[in-house]
Symmetry: D2
Subunit: 363 residues, 4 copies
Amino acid sequence: MKNTFGSKITLTIFGESHGNAIGCVLDGIAPGICVDEEYIKALLSLRRPAGAISTSRREADEFVIESGVFNGYTTGTPICIVIPNKDTRSGDYGEMAHLARPSHADYTANVKYRGFQDHRGGGHFSGRITAAVVAAGGILLKALEAKGITVGTHIKRCGGISDREFGDIGADIKTLSTLPFAVLDENASVAMQDKILSARSSGDSLGGVLETAVVGLEAGLGEPWFDSVESLLSHALFSVPAVKGVEFGAGFAITEMLGSQANDPFFAKDGSVFTSTNNSGGINGGITNGMPVIFRCAIRPTPTISREQNTVDYITKENKTLAAAGRHDPCIVHRARIVVDCITALVLADLLAERHGTDWLAL
Amino acid sequence: MKNTFGSKITLTIFGESHGNAIGCVLDGIAPGICVDEEYIKALLSLRRPAGAISTSRREADEFVIESGVFNGYTTGTPICIVIPNKDTRSGDYGEMAHLARPSHADYTANVKYRGFQDHRGGGHFSGRITAAVVAAGGILLKALEAKGITVGTHIKRCGGISDREFGDIGADIKTLSTLPFAVLDENASVAMQDKILSARSSGDSLGGVLETAVVGLEAGLGEPWFDSVESLLSHALFSVPAVKGVEFGAGFAITEMLGSQANDPFFAKDGSVFTSTNNSGGINGGITNGMPVIFRCAIRPTPTISREQNTVDYITKENKTLAAAGRHDPCIVHRARIVVDCITALVLADLLAERHGTDWLAL
Amino acid sequence: MKNTFGSKITLTIFGESHGNAIGCVLDGIAPGICVDEEYIKALLSLRRPAGAISTSRREADEFVIESGVFNGYTTGTPICIVIPNKDTRSGDYGEMAHLARPSHADYTANVKYRGFQDHRGGGHFSGRITAAVVAAGGILLKALEAKGITVGTHIKRCGGISDREFGDIGADIKTLSTLPFAVLDENASVAMQDKILSARSSGDSLGGVLETAVVGLEAGLGEPWFDSVESLLSHALFSVPAVKGVEFGAGFAITEMLGSQANDPFFAKDGSVFTSTNNSGGINGGITNGMPVIFRCAIRPTPTISREQNTVDYITKENKTLAAAGRHDPCIVHRARIVVDCITALVLADLLAERHGTDWLAL
Amino acid sequence: MKNTFGSKITLTIFGESHGNAIGCVLDGIAPGICVDEEYIKALLSLRRPAGAISTSRREADEFVIESGVFNGYTTGTPICIVIPNKDTRSGDYGEMAHLARPSHADYTANVKYRGFQDHRGGGHFSGRITAAVVAAGGILLKALEAKGITVGTHIKRCGGISDREFGDIGADIKTLSTLPFAVLDENASVAMQDKILSARSSGDSLGGVLETAVVGLEAGLGEPWFDSVESLLSHALFSVPAVKGVEFGAGFAITEMLGSQANDPFFAKDGSVFTSTNNSGGINGGITNGMPVIFRCAIRPTPTISREQNTVDYITKENKTLAAAGRHDPCIVHRARIVVDCITALVLADLLAERHGTDWLAL
């Protein structure tokens, strides 16, 4: 299923950047979950472009809940959320119509869809679709929070600058929920934003590393093989545009350790079991062990840049050069982090519903 | 679906390390594909422990094809392959029965399965299950090869030693298919094996980085979102025990580049389109662009080591120490590479069947 | 997946009778299929209540295609269709708020959704949702027709009156596409409508039997077991509200025959294979044999009637009586037939995409 | 997924009639369910051909549980059951090799699998595969019974003879579990068996109607649309070879009733809600209402008969005649009933796991 993800709780997305609307259908959610539209708006504003570090396209992201919510609570039936497109200037893209932006999906979309794709602004490949994921995520994050499960993502690294490590993770997640630019260290935050502005001014773009933590998850979620927590999370995370790497716990760095260094020793305290390190990122054998789940996503630099690049006309197959004229983001890392939170919430809610049944999330 | 993966072509795995047998059901495969049992045996021997760099457990991996193959060809119906367990010395694990090996699945399995799991030798979490994946993969890799699509994985890094970069990828893949220890540079190969022996002699273990290349894939496979090639491959790869990170193309390193460095410029030649670099790993917007697909997996050091570690008795919740006495691998990176090839073949065959229909792989 | 059906081509439905809107997301459809909005409108008008034989609720069924169609053709990305609700008089249902209409879903919905369901007008259980299925079906039926595959359903029996048998099925299907009341024999048509009016005047309702034929389908579609053509069609058909039975070919009547009577002898003519009877309904061993696919659905009488019935208040669990005051259909058989055509088209398009690949339907 | 059914609890089947073995993988089953091999054997013996009313092929149906069961309890991992084929006389089928048995799958299999199918004895289309379903069903039926949910099927009609109606359904189900020939009325039982013998002696075959009841099911299972209880059950039931019709409650007969006759009035007693009739078969709006679930399956006469029939050579496309010489069943209705029970148990267990979570069935 191409645009649907999940097993018990499923998300189906639709829409093109410059079409009528984007949106999603969130299904399988327990009846009786309070839907806080103000919270969803707040999440959407964290994803929305803002200031010089983002594109100048301005979208109100006014969403309409078409179904599945009644008197402020989920009914248990599919929740369709539609977000109309408003600030669309397709003319911006006119001159690039057949020029494939390097590392963007223009060329592959044309091969796949045989010329019938809506090419304007990236169409269905646009990062704009992530607004729908965030709207749905607002329902899920809130429901998880009521169960004591919180999710937060910071920009671990961008423009050669690193944020500090997670400390008191619960508190850090709370802090992140209030930050428009999700960096825990204030100096690092300022420095990163400077780097983004500097990339912008040279017509270029930056990527970065997002690090996510989940606290409050019980041990025992996930499966040995194809439904391992890593498998499900990575599947969902790699669907977010621009993600090129996903690692859990120590990730690639674990390959430089000896087993005796990499292993997380268990210890028991007051009848509960913990590990003294967390190189496994809270997951052993594909299953949560009760420690915080930790992972990182590599976000590539935005492919659309205004510097001139070599490319081809994908219709005529002629070699050409291209300098993008439309509005675009010099960096999407700070916007993507809320998408990562939301897609994580989707996977976790689904795993919990699998283990505890349909209604658990609402009880 | 817990132990089934794929959409049109599906693989269902079963079995425990010290139970009757392990095996799999491969379904959805086109009728008329030649099944080369000698080739499957050769693949299995590349996965099988061999020499001092592996566990001393010796399994013949004699497989029985119970169904779905008739007169040497696939029939189009499910192929069940059973591999009986033979060299099982459960006694080896007796003393560790309730001691959770750090970073292994003993503890999480006990939480999840409430004490009913077959704990012997890791049970269903054992790397032994990967033999079933390899047996199925032997059918798929051969079928893909007949279509001009080849897959190969080398040990990019292990014990602080790096292999050379891929060069002529098609030729390198051919070379790798003949190497018991999949390192392209001979000196690096020797050095890595020394490091593994040295880890073994100190009762420790090593991990490493596997790098995989696929050549001959057409442009246009995969989907924008949840069925992106990265999503599907990572889902399958993270199900392989010990994988803690997956990255495509330049992967995490792309986050240190500017957009102008990271982007892969297109060029046309004789009516075909190529990119002059391949930082995207052959995938743009989730869809193959016709360049080689390149990815890397982080393989953690084997968690079972003979050095003493702190842990808990997962029944009594007492703090304990543990030094594993059973047979175990000082490194599984060299064995895992063939599993990665096979699981990659599964994902690719499924994507191709999705695009071209059930029978294409056989025609 | 609760509100999503299909494997390669999927339909996700959403909406409640008296909420904002109903609609659907049709995904996996090949790019390049012409979307004929006039044809969709015509189909919707065949489903829409009309005249005294239907409810007096009047809905324009004005649909908005939010995504997935560009310049009049499918793009290959998800097609979201939204149909706003307009003529909703929730007051009609006020007095029945907690009285479970016998054989309707009021009681079971309340158990399942724990009181959070949108109870107005049946909510998500309302037959109104079928308008979304018809809108999507309009795209699929047209695409199938371009491949020579046509689908038609007549009212085989209603109110004790039988329509004639299918004759020249291709021609009959063409005739049915023009009939607002889908009965091939004119006298039977008049008589059935009289029976419906008579049921209405006594505050009662009627059901009936729908018979569907598909012509132009190739042999070889479907699978031996769980994806048998019968399994997939019945799964989809039983999801249509009010269907209580589905039978293929001779159906239940085949149980009264001897094998020698029931079997459909094969014969060859000009290199093609046919059967001289069609008791199997065009399906042998779950797979199409090239003969017309024939099946029948039992449609129960509309449960909402104005005659007084015994029931309970599902909140207080008190015994009550109920005579429905709202607008309701004395019969939905004539409206359901177009829903059956559309849901059939969904299953067939999916089977064809499975066999021939993503793009086949558009080529 | 072609040979896998279910969402949380899944069954994957494999095998051919005259191949090495048949079998299945049952996955998603809660850990801690007692596996009673004697009970499974007893169920298998109810399915096995016996006496003159069945084929003379004799299979011991000795099954091997290869995985997923440890110390007599389910572990929570996939249960693979293999049943070797023993009494295979492929020679019986030699002369019919290319002659398509009318209404059997020989012709459609050849079209679908392009000549690569294992044609011996029906291959993967053989009713023999149902032995695997029964083996798995033995685990599920027992687990459901421990939850107070019982399933039973009787032969409602065969050879023009009808069994009595269900009376005290719980008691009738208990009786059926002990009957080799599942007819509640003894006279009807004798008469039906006479009819079968008579069909056999004339080289012909009989079909019949199976009626199934489930008691002890809670209200609230199932979904409004695509996962309606009717949809899921019919999907599974139509996958059983020879089923050509499925109806719930009053089924097709409901189409002859007025709404006021067809509706099942609710009444409350001691705080619980019941219906005074059960024309809906325990399902309203796709969801169980707490009353017994009742449905019927039309089983066609066995297509393989020894009377001469017209047919074609599916290779040469020549018209031929065929009189089957192999061993075959004059009727499979009495054997199919236990398959229906088992496949019903699969659907119910899956629905319960969906609603209550993975472990509920074992707790």
